[in-house]
Symmetry: C2
DNA sequence: CCGTATCCAAAAGGATACTG
DNA sequence: CAGTATCCTTTTGGATACGG
């Protein structure tokens, strides 16, 4: 038996690869925009600033935990800005930054590919599922 | 107390929204391409067909379970084709379909946005984290 | 060689209650 | 109004062993 097992080698290989991927900008962007709540928040803000309570209403069914978490990461990444108005009760407005806005054309091209190819994908699924019978 | 509680109303609202989103082509596409293994497989196949064992080697650290699962969904969606050569031992080649190939320019534009804005995102993160101290 | 089946640990995310 | 904190369920995915 080797001093380093095959399982250990594979685990090490995986860790190194994971570390490499974690630094990959494309991977990071995909992880961001593909998040369900992220894309919904960006879309909701596309037409202008929104208050926290507005977002919660627009994005039906989002939990406070996920909305807050999503807004925090978007703010941290510089895609969304947070403006607090000190009053009673307090008011908080969220808006897309220029960086966040620059992402909209990309979202649009994704949307266009999806809409123009969804039928082909669905035909492929039906064909695949039929063959399985 | 109401016969329908607020919690029940919210749960119902969420279910309806989830069902709506599940049918959204854009959401479906994002769910696909944002999957870590999916994007790695598509990239690996961009230069030509690959055998199962080649993919497992190229995509370091992928488990057989995830590779198989990923290839199956890609095949079902019509993005990847699977060609079995009956011999001993059996040989299986995977390749992008025309539909899968049509996705490559989109992947490229995502890659380009990410690479040209990653520095700005990282500056935003640093600034955000500094302010938290 | 190309998978499938099972088990199990880790992570994501929703419900709820509470605070400034 | 705008969150935070906690608990707990569901989902994801890796490891391993086995089958065609």
């Amino acid at each position: 038996m080797a001093t380093v097992t095959a399982a250990q080698r594979r685990a090490e290989q995986r860790r190194a690869y994971d570390a490499y991927l974690a630094e990959c900008p494309t991977r990071q962007l995909l992880d961001r925009i593909s998040d369900k709540w992220v894309s919904l928040v960006l879309t909701a803000l596309a037409t202008g600033p929104r208050r926290y309570s507005e977002l919660r209403r627009i994005i039906a069914g989002v939990s406070e935990k996920m909305l807050t978490q999503t807004l925090r990461t978007l703010e941290r990444d510089g895609l969304v800005s947070r403006a607090v108005t000190v009053s009673v009760p307090v008011r908080v407005d969220y808006a897309l930054t220029p960086l966040g806005t620059s992402l909209l054309p990309l979202m649009t091209s994704i949307k266009e590919w999806a809409e123009s190819h969804i039928e082909e994908v669905e035909r492929a699924r039906t064909a695949y599922d039929t063959d399985q019978d």
